[in-house]
């Protein structure tokens, strides 16, 4: 019932409107499949005008396709639904199946924060507010997935935008984070200076290796 071939009417209408640019049916099927693929991998609701832009289709056609797709999923009785939320489309679990999803969530696939997640959380806590690019610069890896996890757990959130050019989203910790750590404010976090460098760094220094220049304080005056 959710065969994309049945969903193509809006596209065919579209073809009539532009007879000199006829679409082959399989190209049209690809459009529906592309909507499925894009919305599936999206980490937030996908606005229809973004879909329209990506697929080079009128927004109204995209909206029609999405509505039909949602109806087809429902009719076929899938365990997921395509819903319009927060100005975009996303897949979510069907409300009927909440008891199963609850059981799964309670089971907790990962009951502990990974080391990477803890480090990212620490950076946000100590340096907030900061952009994902600043987190990336410190950690040396793309922090998107970790930030998303932390956000989904309610420990960090987007707290504003950089006033400078680009207006990057800025991240900070949440009241829940403070509550869970038993702190009144981020000012109560232990001061950084109290901690000596880790063993790895000390070893490296002893071995006479050079450290990255930004920390190696005075430049050699050897000339």
């Amino acid at each position: 019932m959710s065969d994309p071939e049945e969903l193509l009417d809006p596209l065919r209408l579209d073809q009539d409107a532009e007879p000199d640019a006829p679409r082959r049916p399989d190209a049209a099927a690809d459009v529906v499949r592309a909507i499925e693929a894009i919305v599936l991998v999206a980490t937030e609701p996908v606005p229809p005008d973004l879909l329209a832009q990506l697929l080079e289709l009128p927004v109204v056609t995209v909206e029609q396709l999405c509505q039909r797709l949602a109806g087809a999923y429902e009719e076929a009785g899938h365990g997921f639904a395509l819903v319009r939320v927060a100005g975009g489309y996303r897949y979510q679990s069907h409300p009927d199946l909440a008891p199963y999803v609850e059981r799964f969530v309670l089971e907790g696939q990962s009951a502990r924060l990974s080391a990477a997640a803890l480090e990212t959380l620490a950076i946000v806590a100590y340096k907030q507010p900061l952009s994902r690019a600043q987190v990336a610069a410190i950690r040396g890896v793309d922090p998107d997935a970790v930030l998303r996890t932390l956000q989904s757990r309610g420990y960090v959130d987007q707290v504003g935008r950089d006033p400078g050019p680009g207006q990057a989203v800025l991240w900070g910790t949440t009241p829940l984070f403070l509550e869970r750590l038993g702190l009144d404010s981020v000012a109560d976090l232990p001061p950084i200076a109290d901690f000596v460098p880790g063993a790895e760094v000390v070893e490296a220094l002893e071995a006479g290796l050079r450290l990255a220049p930004d920390v190696d304080a005075p430049p050699p005056d050897g000339g």
């Binding site: 693929a37 599936l40 991998v41 999206a42 980490t43 996303r90 897949y91 979510q92 679990s93 909440a98 999803v101 799964f104 969530v105 309670l106 907790g108 990962s110 009951a111 924060l113 080391a115 997640a117 803890l118 480090e119 990212t120 959380l121 620490a122 950076i123 806590a125 100590y126 410190i138 950690r139 040396g140 997935a145 998303r148 996890t149 989904s152 757990r153 309610g154 420990y155 984070f177 869970r180 750590l181 038993g182 702190l183 109560d188 976090l189 232990p190 950084i192 901690f195 460098p197 880790g198 790895e200 760094v201 070893e203 006479g208 290796l209 050079r210 450290l211 990255a212 190696d216 050897g222």
Partner: protein
Amino acid sequence: MAYEVSTEVFDGPFDLLLHLILREELDLYEISLARIVDAYLAEVERMEAFDLDLATEFLLIAATLVELKARRLLPDPDDVDLDDELVLWEERDLLLARLLECKTFKDAAGVLRRLSDRAARSFPRRLGPEEHFLALTPDLLEGITAADLCRAFVRATAPRPVPTVDLDHVAPIRLSVAEAVDELVDELPRAGRITFRRLTSGLVERLAVIVRFLALLELFKQGLVELEQADAFGDIEIRWTGGEAGSGDGRVPVGAAVDDYEG
């Protein structure tokens, strides 16, 4: 990070040797060892920091190659000490085994690349449960203290040691076998007879000694010198047989020919 730079061509002594033997389909007798060493030195120069470990690894292999090559150039196999011969065979077998292992994983890496390229065409869903389920999720901060967080911050922001060696005391090394050949072509006719030890007595760098030795082998192959070694590990006596200094056979053609010299 030096590796990142060098990977495009060779990322190790075995890699280089495999390349020279297989990809160019030259055998060790036809290519001059000079080319191997020069290719390596070119690599070293391209690296931002001279990597002592890498250089040592290469020199070990270069030494084995030099032995193999020298053995093949020896005019009379009866002169060879049987023990030395066995050691050399063992070294050769070891080198062969390592090259085969290196090649095995190189090919396996190619398959990983293809698998990964294919898998990269699909993107996983990572969105997670809808918001209203989040209240149910176990608290991931359970048992984590502010001090843990502080340590994680220090860990995350700690300077990462860069594995480079301080080289301020090491002069930049710029050697090529071709240049060494030119020097010898200039020097040997005047000396007439000279021992290898004396010829290299002024050199501090071991690499420079090896380069000179390779240059000497090159001249030997071209019939410009005769080499004599009274006993194993004894000093090598060199006799120039290529005519007078600055003569028509002289420096420019010999040195310049090294790179193209393929027998």
